[in-house]
């Protein structure tokens, strides 16, 4: 597990280095750069791209994605998407389907509450 994580980290670092070197072309102004310059919108506090990759990679591995898939998935994210995942992965909605697992759990809680076993709702 540890070695596979290390491997992914190395691959990501190599990718980031390669992509930074490849796109450095200061004489041209990119479209995204120009649009950002124009709107001067308030930017979210950004963490470094490396740290963002590292954070998302760890999350994904912990959530059962294989090391190889993790790398491919991170490489397909834009900078903004990577930032969003790194900062809010646990809070983002994960669409799963119309299955009522949580609904059933809620009903159990409600019944327990109504028959006086628990006190979950009375403090609300």
């Amino acid at each position: 597990m540890l070695t596979s994580r290390l491997l992914v980290l190395l691959q990501i670092t190599a990718f980031l280095v390669a992509s930074t070197v490849g796109t450095a072309q200061a004489a041209i102004i990119g479209t995204a750069e120009h649009l950002a310059d124009q709107s001067r919108s308030e930017q979210l506090a950004q963490i470094s791209a490396t740290l963002a990759s590292d954070t998302v990679q760890q999350h994904m591995l912990e959530m059962g994605v294989s090391p190889a898939d993790t790398l491919a998935r991170i490489n397909a994210l834009s900078d903004a998407e990577l930032q969003q995942l790194a900062q809010q992965l646990d809070a983002l909605p994960a669409g799963s389907g119309a299955l009522g697992v949580l609904g059933a759990l809620f009903l159990v809680l409600l019944v327990l509450e109504l028959i006086g076993v628990t006190n979950v709702f009375s403090k609300l």
């Binding site: 479209t31 310059d37 994904m60 898939d69 834009s78 995942l85 983002l92 009375s122």
Partner: protein, 325 residues
């Protein structure tokens, strides 16, 4: 205590009852050619995404998308990963802007829309992806490919409430070289610019061109399309657009810089020098990044200019002399 629980429940439920549920007066529609993939356990994300991708001409299955979007630990798929997987299939994802109105514009144009629904409540969410393929005004039902139902007819009030609880999030995946039917030019430009580095240059250039065809006078689109053409090795096409843009807006210094850079890289330093001069004079008023780019371009030009006194003949095709802006 029972009263307390009931009161709490009523409060929670009523907090969600403020959404307009009046069904819209829209024409009947049904996109019958949109495929259907019944979802496996928890995997509405891969199923809904495959539905849109196949409709846009990609040969793919939900099973192939599972390792690209499914998060076992969350028993579901995240929105941004659907966007990323779309790009891995060689298509461009566009987030729907404008809620129900935009949804109907897409349906009218023949585009199915992947929507995120919250089938639970804000405080107990149950997230679900489905694909909207039509609307029946007489029965006030939305037509969905959803879960294991190929043709789910969902009451408008129920649909719009569940969609509102997911912030009206929707996804459109056009065929290559096409753009969504809905949404303003600026939103589209921002979205495409933010992901073009992850896409094939030819696809990017064709998509900017499509946007430009709809909004021919939009300066941001002219600039973006010119940059994209150049990145796709279409030097003449790029020069043409920079020229058009500068004829409309001579003060567009980023365009002036990029056009001058194109010319100097093409071995036309004399034209490039004429083009960059106004930008050099304007440097104090430019943003640091633009000013720095202008300085670099000017230095490149000076280096080449020292060796020649006239541009070679092929430069004419790029500068469209004598009307250089």
């Amino acid at each position: 205590m029972i009263r307390g629980a009931a009161l709490a429940l009523a409060t929670l439920l009523s907090a969600c009852a403020t959404i307009t549920t009046r069904p819209p007066d829209e024409a009947a529609s049904e996109l019958t050619t949109v495929p259907f993939f019944p979802q496996e356990t928890y995997q509405c994300g891969p199923a809904a995404l495959a539905t849109l991708l196949v409709h846009s001409g990609v040969a793919i299955t939900p099973e192939a998308l599972v390792p690209q979007v499914y998060l076992p630990g969350r028993e579901g798929s995240l929105q941004v990963e659907l966007l990323a997987a779309t790009r891995r299939s060689g298509r461009i994802p566009f987030i729907l802007r404008g809620g129900a109105e935009a949804l109907f514009e897409e349906l009218e144009a023949g585009n199915p829309v992947l929507v995120l629904q919250n089938l639970g409540r804000a405080w107990l969410p149950r997230w679900h992806y489905a694909v909207v393929v039509g609307y029946q005004p007489d029965t006030q039902r939305v037509l969905l490919r959803s879960g294991t139902e190929q043709r789910r007819l969902e009451r408008w009030s129920r649909f719009i409430a569940s969609w509102a609880h997911a912030d009206y999030w929707g996804l459109v995946i056009p065929r290559p070289g096409e753009i969504p039917a809905s949404g303003p030019a600026d939103d589209l430009a921002g979205e495409l610019a933010g992901q073009e580095a992850l896409l094939e240059p030819a696809l990017v250039a064709a998509t900017w061109d499509a946007a430009l065809a709809r909004w021919p006078d939009n300066l941001n689109l002219l600039f973006a399309a010119a940059n994209a053409r150049r990145a796709n090795a279409d030097t003449e096409g790029a020069a043409q657009l920079y020229h058009t843009l500068l004829m409309q807006a001579p003060q567009h210094m980023p365009a002036r810089n990029n056009f001058a850079d194109l010319l100097v890289q093409a071995g036309c330093p004399v034209s490039a020098e004429r083009l960059i001069a106004p930008a050099q004079q304007a440097t104090p008023a430019l943003s640091p990044a633009v000013a720095e780019a202008v300085r670099q371009t000017a230095a490149d030009i000076a280096r080449q200019r020292a060796q020649v006194s006239n541009d070679p003949g092929h430069c004419r095709a790029l500068t469209q002399d004598p009307t250089l802006p």
